[in-house]
Amino acid sequence: MTKLQRIRDILLGLIMIAIAGVMFLFQESVYWVIISVLSVIFTFEGLSTIIYYFTMARFMTGGRSILYKGVILLDFGILTGTLTDVPRIYVLLYLVAIHAFSGAVELLRAREAASYGGSWKLKMFHGILDLSMALICIVFIRRLNIAVIIYAFGLVYSAILRIVSACRRTKLVYIP
């Protein structure tokens, strides 16, 4: 990992912890923040996909589909920012879906790593943790502030992992 990557990861980890802190403190009022963040992410994703189409994908066979994807993502991102009456449960279900999907992917990666004889325990632990968080969110779905606390806890856990990984020493060889 380069120095720049390490700094970026540590900063990102700290930002995630800060966001989690805000979520712990403000709990139920934090939903509009989540929606705003989602809106920004999708808008940015849409714009970068459109730019990618004009700079790269229009030269490849079948590249048009990337333009369509970009336009829809952009529209979705901007629309999300204007939603003023989103039932909190929808936001929570979206977060649950992300964690469940992420957990399932990690478990599949752990299985694949095991089949190649690689280390799989950490991946499996991450996968189980993600799925457990999704499950707990569903169990407490009517107690929305608890779900926010659980999500914030997940954010802190991811942040710590990211910071630890950034601080790990890697072998460097200098070519004279």
Partner: protein, 363 residues
């Protein structure tokens, strides 16, 4: 290419070029080791990770695809498995960003092939082996790039195997890495289509599965970069040229020839065995190792041991620090670092940052 060509066929080529049995074994072992010398192996040996010539599936799964990660991936794959053919290629109306990826498309007889072979001159047999691996792969992996790129490495889903004079069989792909390819029913495994430009699934020839690595197959497909043209890949012909060129190159390395020119192939030594070689290349099976091994043992009258990844590891581990460079793996590492540096620097000098910023002292 796979073990049958990198190990056994390279041995045969080395014998035909005039190397002894022992020298040929060193060369072919090094050629095959390029496909296995990953960071995982190097860390286990206590060797510099920068000498990695490949990335294992596990390493790729965890590889980052931010700019630094892409540069790391490109340095390895473009240097050893997808040597770029023309770092200054141009295509009209293309953006710079596109051209940087387009220029990494692999192909035989580019300037970098000449530099790769010349780099191995007057160096160790391990360097010769590395050069042979790189050169052979330019024939097998042509039309794909050693950097993750959807716009370059993607293909249409329609692959057609060309059989006999006029026969055509539609190839079916599935995404099951654990199942062997079914040659009888033309069912092969390839990578999943991922619409992310920098996804690992878009590295190299993943979208074509193992087709480029089978010497017997001729097929037609449409690469994403070629403006709806259909490309025919004639592996039996390409592999024959790769073999002939290896013999030609090794005659240069051994000192039989004064210079090495691209697009030149040995006729004298190879033509004697042309029918035999073409028969081996054309036989339809997953691995031609047995056939190449038999041919090699006939050439030398000696036994070719099976490739053993652990063969030279103890020698390296047990050697004192100041003597590690004199071991087999130590010499391989030096050759690998030289090759990676040469290619990465060439890419950087062409104005392309996909292999990172490379500066060599005094150049």
């Amino acid at each position: 290419m796979q073990e049958d060509f990198h190990y056994y066929a390279t041995y045969c080529a080395a014998m035909l070029a005039g190397y002894s049995h022992e020298e040929s074994l060193d060369i072919c072992y090094s050629a095959q080791f390029v496909d296995l010398c990953s960071r995982t192996v190097l860390v286990k040996l206590g060797a510099p990770a920068i000498a990695a010539t490949t990335q294992l599936q596990l390493e790729l799964m965890d590889a980052r695809t931010d700019i630094a990660g892409i540069q790391d991936i490109t340095r390895i794959w473009a240097s050893f498995h997808f040597l770029p053919r023309d770092l200054y290629a141009n295509k009209p109306k293309r953006t710079k960003r596109y051209l940087h990826k387009y220029r990494l498309i692999c192909g035989p007889n580019g300037d970098l092939v000449k530099k790769t072979v010349e780099l191995a001159k007057n160096r160790s047999l391990q360097s010769a082996g590395i050069a042979m691996h790189v050169m052979a792969d330019t024939w097998a992996h042509m039309y794909f790039a050693g950097t993750p790129s959807l716009v370059i490495n993607d293909t249409s889903g329609d692959f057609t195997e060309l059989t006999g004079e006029t026969g055509e069989v539609k190839i079916t792909f599935r995404h099951n890495p654990s199942a062997p390819d079914d040659l009888e029913n033309s069912i092969y495994t390839n990578s999943l289509r991922q619409r992310d430009e920098n996804s690992i699934m878009n590295l190299g020839h993943g979208r074509a599965g193992h087709l480029p690595d089978y010497s017997f197959i001729r097929y037609r497909y449409m690469p994403a970069w070629d403006e709806y043209r259909l490309t025919v890949k004639d592996n039996p012909s390409d592999y024959y040229k790769a073999f002939s060129q290896m013999v030609y190159a090794m005659k240069y390395l051994i000192g039989d020839r004064a210079d090495f020119e691209i697009d030149r192939y040995d006729q004298d030594s190879v033509s004697v065995y042309e029918d035999r070689i073409r028969e081996i290349l054309g036989r339809r099976r997953l691995s031609a190792s047995d056939d190449w091994k038999a041919f090699g043992e006939e050439l030398s009258g000696e036994t070719i041991p099976d490739f053993d990844l652990d063969k030279y590891q103890d020698e390296y581990i047990q050697a004192p620090s100041e003597r590690k460079d004199e071991t087999f793996i130590g010499r391989f590492i030096q050759g690998a670092i030289a090759q990676k540096t040469m290619v990465s620097e060439a890419i950087y000098r062409s104005g392309n940052l996909l292999a990172g910023i490379v500066q060599i002292g005094g150049s």
